[in-house]
Symmetry: none
Subunit: 184 residues, 4 copies
DNA sequence: ACATTCGGGACCACCCGTTCCT
DNA sequence: AGGAACGGGTGGTCCCGAATGT
């Protein structure tokens, strides 16, 4: 299904940059190169189904990236620092356009669409799971690991917002320093 | 200017719930009660100018609320806990609709509109300033206070996203506990 | 393409009566019977593209009419008289609403839209060509034929303006008499 | 009444360039510098009354110009040539924007507004009167003078249309040559 | 079965000419 | 004279079926 994948990739990119409501099907089809009429063959559920598929794909890709990053360091603090470095690099490389692929859609569409909210929830949970497991392996108790993972993910998500508003990586750097200090 | 204020209030409410792109001028005027044609008299810059005005108002209101909350406690950890309690209560009371009034618009419109990005940046800065001052008064060095304030704000912003995705206050509670422990 | 043709016909009629700016898309779609959304499938260029298409169609139809008329008489003066009679009849039959389908749009939109100006230019040129050929066949040298054709077309166009202002065929009759006398 | 005159001048300029429907009150007030609310104090009849006033002023100014030009030459052909030269110069100087100040409005609004149609009729009549008088003074019988004046005015009006479509003075030059030859 | 053209209204942000009340 | 208010209207785009052709 090459064209189906093209739709998803184009949607994921645009959702990450400008969210759900601001992304039109016309823009998606233009970017994907596939013809307009084919969209409803692959995604009879329309825009919403397409968005969920894009969130799931982007979420899984990022989950794999997080996992690869955090297991590459023996030290927990360094692992988290590297994770932030990856996100920082991606944001900066895109000219502060590409932050978290899930957060934007969550904030604007969670209220209106239960399907999107639940897809976002599952993605966030998968990320939290990876982080909590890494923290457990460093000696945290399960509950404490889950709490700390929540803090880490929340801080990164929040820093991505601040960074986009400030058009600088400053907030990510500050959060990075604080999280390292926390795990000394 | 009663009607001008009505426009701003209606816009602020809708922006907070569903963001910039999903909020139509028609919806704004319907909610404000003011007639359609008056909008472009008060806001010749159109939707964008209106959004900036709403962000500035909501930002200032929340800044005042943050300030009032954090100065009401002698203990820093408790001050932050109360701040989170306020945000948590607001989110829950609205049925997980009303999170941060700035974050959503930032994520979806910062790329497209420099005016909106810069308004968001100023609001976030004003909040960071209040938090940093409180931390300085608790003994933090200026740079450390700014870093810690960034972590706190980022963690709250991120927790608000996770809470909306999860449709529960769990993430806010977790972050609250972590931040209290951090300031013992 | 039946609906595409309907759009063009409706546009041509309205453009001829009231010009470009006074003709709304709503009025065009109401007259054509087709819905608004279909319009931008056939004419992605919007109102301007639609106007150009309508001018081209009306221009070609009138060119064919002019040609048929001027070749039907052996005498040049009589040929021109019949041409004016045709225009006069059309104007009077429509209650002085339907004059030249190109002139109105040219005057109001040539400045704002290069596409419309150039479409008008091509139509006028096609008419001049027909007239000049007829004059050449009556013995005029090519250059003189072109000049005389310009005078004839200009006089008819101008007389149509005066006739609409005066709400009478008087100006057309006067110009008719003068042009006949000129070719005795 | 300085501001009243400013309104009329601004309207006349815009009407000449782009016609009635395309000219907005906002554009008129912006150009005139006068405040919006004052317009309906001076012109309770609104846009239509304003347009009529602008047509009357521009019509009278041009009538005076025509008169001054045609009485300045002993030879009729030369008088008409100079008249065309004046119109040609004005058109070219404005970048083919400023043609006849009456024709555009006539074509697009004569059907919709009796007031505008009748104002246009009176202006054209005043011009025809000047031209006919000049022709009578050159020996034409009254009826013949009126007919010839109609041809002359119509030819000039038509040539102005063709010139704007062609974005060149060619049509005016051609008509000029023909009219001179006609009065040798 | 599969892909795409074509067609359909509702809705978008924006601006219109006009009038009210100070 | 004039700032504020007023709805209806502008051209344009939205996401989406229905018909069409392969």
């Amino acid at each position: 299904m090459p064209s189906r994948d093209d739709f998803i990739d184009a949607t994921a990119h645009l959702l990450r940059r400008q969210g759900y409501a601001a992304t039109g099907l016309k823009e998606i089809t233009a970017r994907s190169g596939a013809p307009r009429g084919s969209l409803y063959f692959h995604f009879p559920g329309g825009k919403e189904q397409l968005a969920v598929a894009a969130m799931e794909r982007a979420g899984e890709q990022l989950r794999a990236g997080i996992e690869a990053t955090v297991v590459s360091c023996n030290d927990v603090g360094e692992a988290l620092a590297r994770l932030i470095d990856v996100m920082t690099a991606g944001l900066e490389r895109s000219g502060f356009e590409q932050g978290c692929p899930i957060a934007t859609v969550t904030l604007e569409a969670a209220t209106a669409s239960e399907g999107i909210r639940s897809a976002a929830d599952q993605v966030f949970n998968s990320w939290l799971h990876v982080l909590a497991e890494r923290l457990e392996s460093a000696g945290f108790e399960p509950d404490a690991a889950r709490r700390r993972a929540t803090l880490v993910l929340a801080a990164i998500e929040g820093a991505l917002i601040l960074a986009r508003a400030h058009a600088s990586t400053g907030p990510l750097i500050a959060v990075r320093a604080e999280l390292i200090a926390l795990h000394d």
